[in-house]
């Protein structure tokens, strides 16, 4: 039977941790000590069996994606965009406002606020898609989505199903915008999603459309509600979405 020290040496020899001189010495011991040789034989067998039978686990793809997203939460997988800095866009807006109207200061504030708000909404839209769970309530049935909102907001948003028009309802979620919870409706268009956020309207502003960070934005009002639609679809398609949504909600909302 080998001593404890020789057992340790056997491990080191097996694991390739002995240098050439140590290995020579160990081989001498093996030749002289049959029980050490038997133990070494079993160790080698054990290692062969483990190599034969055990497969090293591989990190599952969803885990890999979640972790990759940790490092770059702002980059959508497979769709990296070069983001124009918002300051530059705001500067352009200032320039345009200055050229177009005398009331530069009045036009300036909404432009900057739009940019900031649009940035927040685009970020929320992207975060929803990246998390793989863009909707808190996932349903194409407005009779499911509307009551879900109704239990959470004093004034539930209007929910229209635009499936026949090519924009089926996908669900809803709640984002926190400027410190207050806001309902977000989620629509699908082909392979893309549209986040439609309903915010309380402040002041009076005309409908507007722009592109920020590669995302199309449409803003319009309906009574006391300001709607913000965000999507990576074509601006013209998002404009027709807006028209369908308006048309479906014009007049008294259908019951149910």
């Amino acid at each position: 039977m080998s001593t404890g020290n020789e057992t340790l040496l056997a491990q080191a020899a097996l694991d390739g941790e002995l240098d050439a001189a140590g290995m020579l010495d160990f081989e001498d011991r093996l030749a002289a000590n049959t029980s050490l040789a038997a133990e070494y034989g079993r160790l080698k067998t054990l290692r062969e069996v483990m190599r034969r039978e055990l497969v090293k686990p591989v990190a599952p793809a969803p885990l890999r994606q979640r972790i990759a997203a940790m490092a770059a939460p702002s980059i959508a997988p497979g769709a990296a965009r070069t983001a124009p800095p918002w300051q530059a866009m705001a500067a352009l807006a200032i320039l345009a406002a200055g050229l177009g109207s005398a009331s530069t200061l009045l036009a300036l504030r909404p432009a900057i606020e739009d940019t900031n708000l649009a940035g927040t909404l685009v970020a929320d839209h992207k975060r929803g898609l990246l998390s793989g769970r863009p909707a808190d309530v996932a349903s194409s049935d407005r009779h499911t989505v509307k009551p879900w909102f109704a239990t959470r907001f004093a004034l539930a948003p209007k929910v229209a199903d635009l499936g026949p028009q090519g924009f089926p309802l996908a669900g809803g979620r709640i984002d926190v915008i400027a410190g207050a919870p806001a309902p977000v409706l989620l629509y699908r268009h082909k392979e893309h999603f549209i986040s439609l956020t309903a915010l309380p309207a402040q002041g009076s502003l005309p409908p507007r459309a722009f592109v920020i960070d590669g995302y199309s934005v449409q803003v319009w009002r309906d009574g006391g509600t300001e709607y913000w639609a965000i999507s990576d679809i074509d601006p013209a398609e998002l404009a027709s979405f807006r028209q369908f949504f308006d048309a479906a909600n014009s007049g008294p909302e259908k019951n149910g």
């Binding site: 340790l8 054990l46 483990m50 055990l54 090293k56 686990p57 972790i67 990759a68």
Partner: protein, 172 residues
Amino acid sequence: MTKNPSDEQFTTVVIPHLDDAYALARWLSGNSADAEDIVQEACLRALRGLDRYAGGNARAWLLAITRNAAFTWLARNRSKALVATEDIETLARADATTPEEALIAKAGTAAIELAIAALPPPFKETLVLRDINGLSYRDIAEITGAPLGTVMSRLARARGLLMAALGRPETE
């Protein structure tokens, strides 16, 4: 909205060793769902601690974090699994009989996994780091914070227990 330097570093330092981290977490926790939680927590810690990464062996660095995350996780969720085991420097050895070797050679995946899962934690982690992750003694000593001699004796003990479990006729 642009990547900052630590994000770039995260991609080059952490991501390449994700499989190793997952393999270690998988063996220490015993199932894949818990392993995912552990790896995710470990990567969060790694991301926050990137400025403390001084270069060198990135794999050993991530595995050390994963190991700590696994033990925190196990302590919180399965405190029974963490019974302290004394390091026994004097090693109990199996008898040198040859039929045992034949039995070991015939062991199947399930029997080996069961035998590894039954190892006390310090022995299990040393064995996994060596035989699954393929790390050197020096790296294992660094990751576990144990002296080289302790790493060697734990490894010998782990393998001794495995050989005894797999070489026992009634285990099949």
